[in-house]
Symmetry: C5
Subunit: 354 residues, 5 copies
């Protein structure tokens, strides 16, 4: 259940900078896709060996190297060497329990983000790690598995839509982050739909299972929160554009996704409020039900107890019970009983119990 | 129910700066009203084509261009081009899920606010977006639909009431914001009336529907809160008057609406306190009712169970039951029964159950 | 109930700086009392027309002009003109829903405070607005109605008690604020007495009305909180003494009332804690009562149901029921019944139900 | 109950700096003990008249003047004059409702602390005020009554234990504060013992009185919190050692008691968590009990109601009831009844109710 | 239960800097292990007397002196003298109730951390204190007892794995902290497993004991929180590398463990959320159960009360009761009774009670 609880303990005792994959086991091989472009040309390649990346280093065009699969320490290590990335960062990139963060190392900036998608088949969130390293001519992305999130962006580069082909690596980094954050909105909408369904159920049909669903949704939303919250700080750092890697004019773009992040946080907080409100409604509807059950019991008992008592009285075997000998005693007692019952019903009606 | 959940996802994958309307579908055409004034003259026009706006650019008088309807990307785009507004801002203007914010771009300042009105016909809040862009000679406002909020302001300009005709665009911007925030008070008063009614009901007649109303009101108040909260920061930025567009002497005006915003927030927080207090009262009144129901049951059962038992005893068929043959046995047993009943009633009286 | 909900909406649409009285309607005429003093002399006058104030402007002695009644826009406007106070401030002075605030306009400082008194006749709080404007020679106070709060201060000036006659307007302003804040302590003590009474009741006699009282007291304390909270910021601004109107040596005095404000806030927060603790006790005492009611029911039912069943058995009409013919069958069954009842009672005793 | 509610209102209306004792009435006379020491000598005296203090002013040795009893305005005023302490501070020293605070007046520093002791005889906290004024050669302490807290310190000075005899007034002030804060730990341990006892009771024997004890303990802990919380700020001011009265090397000592204060706050917060956890357990154990009571009732009713019904059926007087004439009808019906009872018991066993 | 409540009070009244062991009593002797290394050589020794440490002072190689057992004041005092550590720090090192903290004394830095391990045998947390003092050539560690936490680090030094042999004392200090923090993850995983088990139980089998386990786990997690929380501040101080003892290049390493600390805090907060969610589920499942119990009672009562009444009616002894004489009266009454029972069952089915 607690996805964030992927065992991290196997790293205990290893020296810092040891590359160990912490995350879901995967069988697929690591795939490396290169997309090299400037205003005039685009080149797309699938890479087999890490050495093939060498020619792209120092090339003035923007090179986007997309690494899908981070479970092979050897491949990741080679890439790290190739681009001279600090071993501690490479370690974080392979550790999917890493919190979103930013590290500015002068020559390159490393970002770790969470890619949240909604898996329609199992109706569950899938949170994967996306690491993004960019220098002034290369953008490296490390994904856990193939997600369709960057397809539209790739198309935009291929077809030179928007201004992306004219811009540098900072704009590509921004576009990647924008794609990631846009997907948070998709996820929040799915969540919203789930909440709408639950909200209806909790009033109409407050079963115990609903509570579990509420709890689970709450946990999921907390996961999203934890993925989004650190982004605020990260992006506001980028917005300030203190690194030479980030152009001053990009500031407005980063400010834009900063606003989006705040908006996701707002929605997350609204959902949390709604869900805890639901819990209150659930509790009070249980109490309401108990009240109703008790009213039925009380009404029945209050009507039949006096009647049964009366019947019992005339079932006594005293020799001298004058009423028993009256001609219409039996019918009179029926009359009295009906009177009592009606009086009780009127009383309950008055108290609005029925 | 969750108005803030207007589908935003159709923007996913588009390049930044793409103009897509995110909001309620609307059929009406976009209307553009121009109001051009300085201390001596006023001119009012309804515009057909966006090019007609050209003459107002660079004119020393204050020009207020009021765009009603933001669902036609083409019109909005033309306006954006005309006044050289950054595409990212135009995108935000068309996205009604945008959070209130301020962007100072040097030549102009862009404000996004929420216009909250109370729709008397459906007794509900209507939250619409108001975008406000002002340079040193033009104020652009973008509204989702025609609201009467700015009518009094328009009248003041026409009739040169107050100092508005002598002031610049910053004062007009302030006056517009003031009108918007004044409406928050109107809305809060309506809310207050709703709360007063509910508060009475929750004590007199704690039905389950009340809980829903409380919940709904709580959601509405949260919506207002989310619209007002970011205003504090926005206005305090304006108050500091660091932009050349804002005159130092306007500072006191912005400080004034800053105080109003704080006051709205105070009221919002009071209402939230009152509403959650109501929920507590509701819960405790359910418990109280259960107590009352149970008391009725217990009183009835406690009186009639011993009596029924006694009647049962003298309904037994033992051959040797001396009491049955006593002359006044039957009457004596009635006496005993009445005694028991009275004793019980006295006991309950003492415990203050009846 | 919600005093803070005095209709503010009639101001909607008016230009800023319009003087409209927002507050309780009052019939009395506005009264203006002047107290002019320096170390050697004191002069006290009741003023009829606002022009009579003119001679006091520019006079080196300290002039305290106390305006009682702020519901006559004309009078207030004249005073504002006389002393050249900004129209926005005059507007705030007439609006009793205004939050406490400070405005430093260089030549004068404007303070808006809340005067809280406890009305013994209706046992309720009365929150009124006190506006305080002071320049280097004049102190203006605007009260909603005559309160006795400043009487001791006036006496001290008349009789030259303490150092007040030797000090300037800043010390008078401080003394006025000190008088206001001292009254908060009086109010808090009254609240404390109310709480003590309630605290006793909630344990001894948890009626539903108590909950309402608790709720009401909570609302009242929130009102006080809202009046006191902004004071902290206001006074710490005065303490820093950045205005030429405030003498550096006054700093310690303002620090002193700052401490008092913090202390009032502490008491307010203690009371809130106590009141919400009370609600918890109330809820649990309802549950306790239900438990008791249910125990009585269960004890009665558990004793009499088996007995009634037994009596029913020997009331059956089977022809062949040997026990019925036993000589002492009837007495034996009584024995058995008493045995059962005693056994039950022993069982309940053991479980500590009785 | 609410110690902090000692009537403060009698100060209302008095000029600032008026010496009025706010606190518990006391009968004892004020006692003044002088302890004068430097590295070589120690002198101890009990003082009768305030003038006897004069020779100690300006003497290079450290003089500790311990005033026990602050309820005699005259004595306190004389001391204030003797050492030229600001009247506002003298006023605070006499007001035991004063919050802990620090005032740096250049020539001397004034600290107001709370001395918390645990009175074993009544098992209650006793919170008294300790005021500490130190210049470069004199340390004045004002206590409400004689507490044993400073005895060990006095012994250390007499016997020249540790470095105290070689240090200045700042170290003595630190030592006094250290003694006060060390006593907080003693008090917290007593609290901890109380909590342990309650924690056991709340599970074993959840009586209503426990709730009161929990509530009371919560109040007491809040009192401690309020006394300790402001200390953090006070001590961190001393630690920064910006006053010439405090030697730079003392910084580490003040840092040490700062850490202690944080630790007391930690314990206070842990206790609050534990106490509110207890309340939850109490509530849920009430619910559990209700459940148990209801189970007993339901089991009894469910077993005996069908049996009583059956007995009732064969107690009917229809002329044609074949079963009544069967030879073993009576025994068969007993069989049926026992069967029903056993079936019910098995059912309840299965549901784990018994 | 409250481990943090080890009696601290025996220090009350002692002069600051007095070495008193505050912690669990231990019988073992203090052991001192020395590990001296540089890039070329390693030397390992067990030390008997503290004087044997003298040669390592001033030696350019890195010397790690590991002191296991801090309960012998004499030994600890000798070490303090040997390395000229401030008595106040030595006092803190011996006091296991000390909060995590950092003290930078110029020539050396002193860190106090908490070493948390999970004792598998008793399934409980064990929190011990680890004090770490490092100068430019010596690292001193003080542990309460032998824990295996540093074994892997020792092996890395012996076998020159990673870069540790080439680095200075700051890197050793970092490696020690890294080992400590890595163990927090192990502990959090154990906690996570406990929570998973509880989470299952609370739904399947909500016994009262579960509540205690939840409470206990909550307390344990609070203990971890209190140990980890101050680390953030401590490590961020180290990261800023303002001390000459810390190399600028180490900054990234400290930043790395800073991230880990944040991640532990995140997990702690998630667990707290989950645990309080569990409490809510527990409460609501108690209410649910009560509902079920009451339904059973109500169903039984509602079916049998009318039937018993009917049987009672025909058990009356009136002389004139026509039905009694009907040929099939008895069978008809059975029919009526079965009809009533079926009708009731249908009614309950409809209300979804059965």
């Amino acid at each position: 259940m607690h996805r964030s609880m992927i065992k991290r303990s196997r790293k205990t005792g290893l020296p810092p900078g040891s590359l160990v994959h912490i995350g879901l086991e995967r069988a697929e091989e690591t795939r490396i896709a290169v997309l090299d472009y400037d205003a005039e040309h685009v080149e797309e390649r699938e890479i087999r060996a890490v050495d093939e990346l060498a020619p792209y280093i120092g090339k003035p065009s923007v090179t986007w190297i997309d690494v899908v699969g981070i479970h092979e320490p050897k491949v990741i290590e080679q890439i790290g060497c190739q681009f001279q990335i600090h071993p501690l960062l490479m370690e974080d990139i392979m550790n999917t329990t890493q919190r979103p963060k930013i590290d500015d190392l002068g020559k390159y900036i490393c970002l770790i983000l969470k890619l949240i998608t909604f898996d329609e088949t199992v109706m569950e969130l899938r949170i994967e790690q996306l690491s993004l390293v960019f220098s002034d001519d290369v953008v490296l992305t490390f994904q856990e598995s193939e997600s369709g999130v960057f397809k539209p962006l790739r198309d935009r580069i291929r077809n030179s839509l928007g201004r992306i082909r004219k811009m540098g690596t900072d704009y590509l980094a921004y576009s990647l982050m924008d794609a990631v954050i846009d997907h948070y909105f998709v996820v929040m909408e799915k969540m919203g739909e789930k909440i709408d369904i639950l909200e209806n159920d909790v009033v109409m049909n407050p079963q115990r299972e609903i509570l579990r669903s509420v709890q689970q949704l709450r946990d999921e939303i907390l996961l999203v929160r934890r993925s989004v919250w650190p982004l605020r700080e990260i992006i506001s750092l980028l917005e300030r554009a203190e690194s030479p890697l980030i152009d001053k004019t990009s500031s407005l773009y980063f400010r834009d996704i900063y606003e989006h992040t705040i908006q996701v946080m707002d929605t997350v907080d609204t959902y949390r409020d709604i869900l805890s409100g639901m819990f209150d409604i659930y509790l009070s509807s249980i109490s309401n039900r108990l009240n109703e059950v008790m009213k039925v019991l009380t009404i029945i008992a209050t009507i039949f107890m006096p009647l049964t008592f009366l019947a019992g009285v005339y079932g006594m075997n005293f020799q001298n019970m004058p009423e028993l000998k009256w001609q219409y005693g039996y019918f009179m007692i029926w009359g009295v009983m009906i009177l009592i019952a009606v009086a009780m019903l009127v009383y309950f009606r008055k108290r609005r119990w029925i």
